[in-house]
Symmetry: C2
Subunit: 454 residues, 2 copies
């Protein structure tokens, strides 16, 4: 049995590893467009900040038992009639790879922005290892003193942190009215305060439309009179599925052009699986597909594609959109739906924000957690949560407690039934998540005329 | 409606607060044996270490809306025919409290030890606020340079940390062959190493039987030739339910003499509820009662007793024995059953230990997590987990992720379906808990001849 995998990042390598685990006799080939199998793209900001001194450390793994890797092999054609993938190597030579099963894991690519001048030297995207090498070289050789970052999503904020750490003056242009559009504004304000405290110049509601050379620097212009000059520009305005090869092969696509798959990660053509940032993702709460390009999801989907390609029948259990990011000393986490998303999906959401110490205040260094809990006011069902607080406050795993509760369709009230751990240096007898849930219950009771205790 | 609550610690106060939330017209009285309503007994080690400078900070709360507190009122009799509690105040005067509903929350007391000489000056238990005041006074006035701690459970270890922090030389006598009997030996060894690194003298398998005066010091003797002299002795050999009042009132008792209750926290007599360290606790995994005196459980049970006393019908959803303790820079957490407990309860456990970084190694300060996962080798069901690692590695909330999974009877394999959060400074694309679960799956496959992928 020949398994060919197009793409050597999280989803592709996970598929190969899982297939080999289950069937050590399978002939597994992974075609990589670059030379960096299973590198942690999420780690690029830390390489660029200098915190990760050697880019080689970014490899999630360095040995790939049972997998034949073909670096610098860009797949150009999938011939679904003859079950053959054609790939071009660095020299432009074409090779054919016969498959019995195929996994497409071509990932995402930066959205095509309408910004003029992005081809100028000193203007960078940040999506691939090569992007980061180019930027690192520029940083070392040109020693820029300042940067304009276009985009205030996860990458934009992590890079604001990273380049501040590297000594640059950072200007951040956010298209939205608050940073991190995936977060409710009342929490985004806390992130903005942290940025200001770290001397990041923040401009909101700005649509950048042009970069041009200006003396020795780069001039960046946009709406609301945005006009900034810096030694370097980073464009981080989001990604889109790289489904071009799949589309050309006749695969059906859906949201944002992502490849359509079922829960077994099967595409609309036989023996072809797809996984990771190039596919639609089943949202467990919404009970419909969404586009959620996340490393965690890519690993899971790749593993399932690999298992099924090896004859298994695993099913992807869905995403909840669980995410966390560290920006300077703040940690920002979310899972499930927030108010606006829940409303758009037919729920009757109630969102309650409350603030708690991460552990008992009598033990040193207690710090505030800002928690927003969203639940359905009619059914009482838990829909999501967002937490903002300090690095070290176990925020990431606190949001995970909520994620597991969401996985099991718990009500907000039932969070208080959970037997969570407590010691004064780390929590309180009711975990902050449970106290936030109890605040939600009280607010719901206050808001609901005919509420009765059940 | 008159609600009388005997006991003003976690369970009693939680009951009062919840009853008032649901029925603000209820007449709620809480009889406290001491003067410290809802103080954090779990915080005593930090008061004694000096990290919590003022004991008043240990109050979980300082206002008790809707609750009449009667401090220094020791309940002496419950007359179940006339629905009346008699309590004696500090002056020995007796007062009667009529009730329609009664909640007994008399907590636990130290086990009666067979150790001779515990009445000597300088020998302390640590269970009440007054115990801690006596010890603190002794520490301040006598400035002891050394202490022998008898017992290597949670309190013994926390106090070894606390008194080292306060500058004392600590000798720890453990009755069991490894410290922390609630932990598997391979992990307990890590705790023992931490104790040695902090210059705690550790003696294991020692049954202390006698304390006597020796010159200016106290001499502590036990089996295996244990013979140590110190300026102070702490006896921390465990607790038992303080159910004496309940027993005298005719309530049925069970394990270790704890008051028998159902999931509504009803005792065997009408209109009398009980909660907290004086009652049996439903174990959600074992599906039978156990004795698990924990602050988290006391809060939950008290809340349920209060809700039901106010006319509700809440049910306690059971304990999983989730616990965490910090000892110097180590954090030790567990939930569910470990191998020996699972075996004793009719499961066919398989336990697999694995070691993982708490976050991606390329981001600074990654530290090892030692994880033991126990599951049923036949059904694949998750039974429990133990984690030992460094303070700051989100161990407490990682064990909580497992606790929520246990709550929902997940299989070990299903842990990999959970959509957990990831950013390189805080985790990896598969959380260590998920990687540990995958290691368990591989070990099970290797151990099971007829294993087939499902």
């Amino acid at each position: 049995m020949r398994l060919v995998i197009i793409g050597g990042s999280d989803a592709g390598i996970s598929a190969g590893i899982r297939a080999f685990e289950l069937d050590p006799y399978m002939d597994i080939s992974v075609l990589l467009a670059d030379a960096y199998p299973n590198y942690s793209i999420c780690g690029l900001p830390f390489f660029l900040s200098g915190e990760t001194p050697d880019w080689r450390m970014l490899a999630h793994r360095t040995d790939f038992p049972g997998i034949k890797l073909f670096p610098d092999h860009t797949a150009t054609v999938i011939d679904t009639r003859s079950n053959c993938v054609v790939a071009a190597n660095a020299q432009g030579e074409k090779h054919s790879f016969q498959y019995d099963r195929l996994v497409i894991a071509t990932g995402a690519r930066p959205v095509t922005s309408a910004i003029q001048g992005t081809e100028l030297h000193g203007v960078f995207p940040l999506h691939t290892m090569d992007d980061s090498f180019s930027m690192d070289k520029y940083l070392r050789e040109r020693e820029p003193g300042s940067v304009v970052i276009v985009g205030a999503g996860y990458i934009g904020l992590e890079m604001a942190d990273a380049l501040t750490h590297r000594g640059l003056e950072v200007t951040l242009a956010s298209r939205s009215e608050t940073v991190l559009e995936t977060l409710d504004p009342s929490l985004a304000i806390l992130v903005e305060q942290e940025l200001r405290d770290r001397h990041v110049s923040l401009y909101k509601g700005v649509k950048v439309d042009r970069v041009c050379q200006s003396g020795n620097g780069l001039r960046v212009m946009g709406t609301r009179g945005f006009d900034a000059t810096a030694d370097m520009v980073l464009i981080a305005v989001g990604v889109q599925p790289d489904s071009r090869l799949g589309v050309e092969s006749g695969l059906a696509t859906g949201i944002k052009g992502a490849i359509r798959v079922n829960l077994r990660m099967e595409t609309t053509l036989p023996d072809i699986y797809a996984a990771g940032d190039c596919v639609e993702t089943w949202h467990r709460l919404l009970q419909r597909n969404a586009y959620l390009p996340l490393g965690t999801t890519s690993h899971k989907q790749g593993r399932i594609a690999g298992e099924n390609a090896a004859g298994g029948s695993a099913k992807f259990q869905g995403s909840l959109g669980t995410q966390v990011v560290k920006v300077f000393d703040l940690v920002i986490a979310r899972t499930g739906l927030r108010e606006s998303e829940a409303l758009a999906s037919g729920f009757e959401p109630l969102t309650v924000e409350s603030t708690w110490n991460d552990h008992k205040a009598y033990y040193p260094k207690a710090r505030k957690l800002h928690i927003r809990v969203t639940g359905d006011r009619t059914s009482g069902r838990l829909l999501g949560a967002q937490i903002v607080g300090q690095y070290g406050s176990e925020i990431s795993k606190r949001i995970d407690v909520v994620a597991v509760a969401l996985h099991h369709e718990m009500s907000v009230e039932q969070l208080s039934d959970l037997d969570l751990s407590y010691t004064p240096p780390l929590s309180s007898p009711w975990d902050p998540i449970q106290m936030a849930a109890q605040s939600w219950g009280q607010a719901r009771k206050a808001a609901t005329a005919n509420f009765s205790v059940t």
